[in-house]
């Protein structure tokens, strides 16, 4: 069985920079209840893909900028190795992802 991923999000930060949007406002735009947004921010609920995209659309950012893996994104597949070298970014297993790495990880996941 696949390992459970610990998914984190930047929703609170994104709300703050979106003219201090409230949880209720975000909930209405995403079509869910305020309690669901609260649960997502607190890490108590993993949204569906559709809801994740709807939340990303509210902030007009890619989904990778809203949600991320706390641990690594997993071993880099062979196909992706060339791409990482081309981009000059080395996705290491230090357990931390910088913004560049996170964005590239998201792109690689989409390609894969």
């Amino acid at each position: 069985m696949a390992e459970k991923l610990h998914i984190t999000n930047n929703i609170r930060t994104l709300r703050f920079f979106a003219e201090e949007m409230t949880q209720q406002q975000l909930a209405e735009k995403a079509g869910v209840s305020r309690q669901t947004i609260l649960a997502i921010e607190a890490g108590k609920y993993s949204p569906s893909l559709e809801l994740a995209f709807r939340i990303a659309n509210v902030f007009h950012v890619p989904i990778g900028e809203v949600f991320a893996c706390k641990e690594t994104c997993g071993p880099v597949p062979e196909v992706a190795n060339d791409k990482t070298k081309k981009h000059g970014v080395d996705i290491t297993t230090d357990g931390l992802l910088t913004d560049d790495k996170r964005t590239l990880c998201g792109e690689l996941m989409i390609v894969a």
Binding site: T36, K44, L51
Partner: protein, 164 residues
């Protein structure tokens, strides 16, 4: 505590009340000697009556609960226009994907309780107890299953749930 959690608590109280009143009524009748365990018809009629009472009670409680919640929101938002108040009421009672997932996960409890009750009833019949014993076990197991469902919902809302 949000609308769905309050609804779960109300559901737990309803289930406990129906099962408790049924047990008190039936045990009272048995102690008085007005009925025996061989009188299957009495138990069937009583259970059907309590099922009907339970359904009517559920509907009435949910309506009252809905009205009270709407009134409380309307009082809280009284400065705003009626459309905004209506919007706030609808927003408070929305059932989204998280509620549906919790609902689905919690629904397993009453199914398991009913199955366990059925098996326990069969065991009682195999041990040559009256049929009324099996009926009572099934009825009480269903009631306890409903209580378990409400408790499971509250736990999921508290602890969180994963999608998938």
């Amino acid at each position: 505590m949000d609308y769905q959690q309050k609804k779960s608590i109300v559901s737990i109280v309803e289930s406990v009340a129906v099962v408790a009143v049924y047990c008190i009524y039936v045990l009272g009748k048995l102690r008085q000697g007005a009925v025996s365990m061989e009188d299957t018809r009495f138990f069937a009629v009583t259970m059907l009556t309590f099922i009907g009472i339970g359904i009517a009670f559920t509907i009435a409680i949910q309506v009252v609960f809905h009205v009270l919640l709407s009134v409380s929101i309307a009082v809280r938002e009284r400065e705003k226009e009626s459309k905004e108040i209506e919007h706030a009421i609808n927003a408070a009672m929305v059932e989204d994907e998280r509620d549906k997932i919790i609902d689905l996960k919690s629904t397993r409890i009453p199914y398991m309780a009913a199955m366990l009750g059925f098996v326990a009833g069969l065991v009682m019949l195999a041990l040559q107890y009256p049929v009324a014993v099996m009926l009572n076990i099934l009825f009480i197991a269903s009631g306890l299953g409903a209580v378990g469902e409400g408790v499971a919902k509250l736990l999921y809302y508290k602890a969180g749930v994963r999608n998938g």
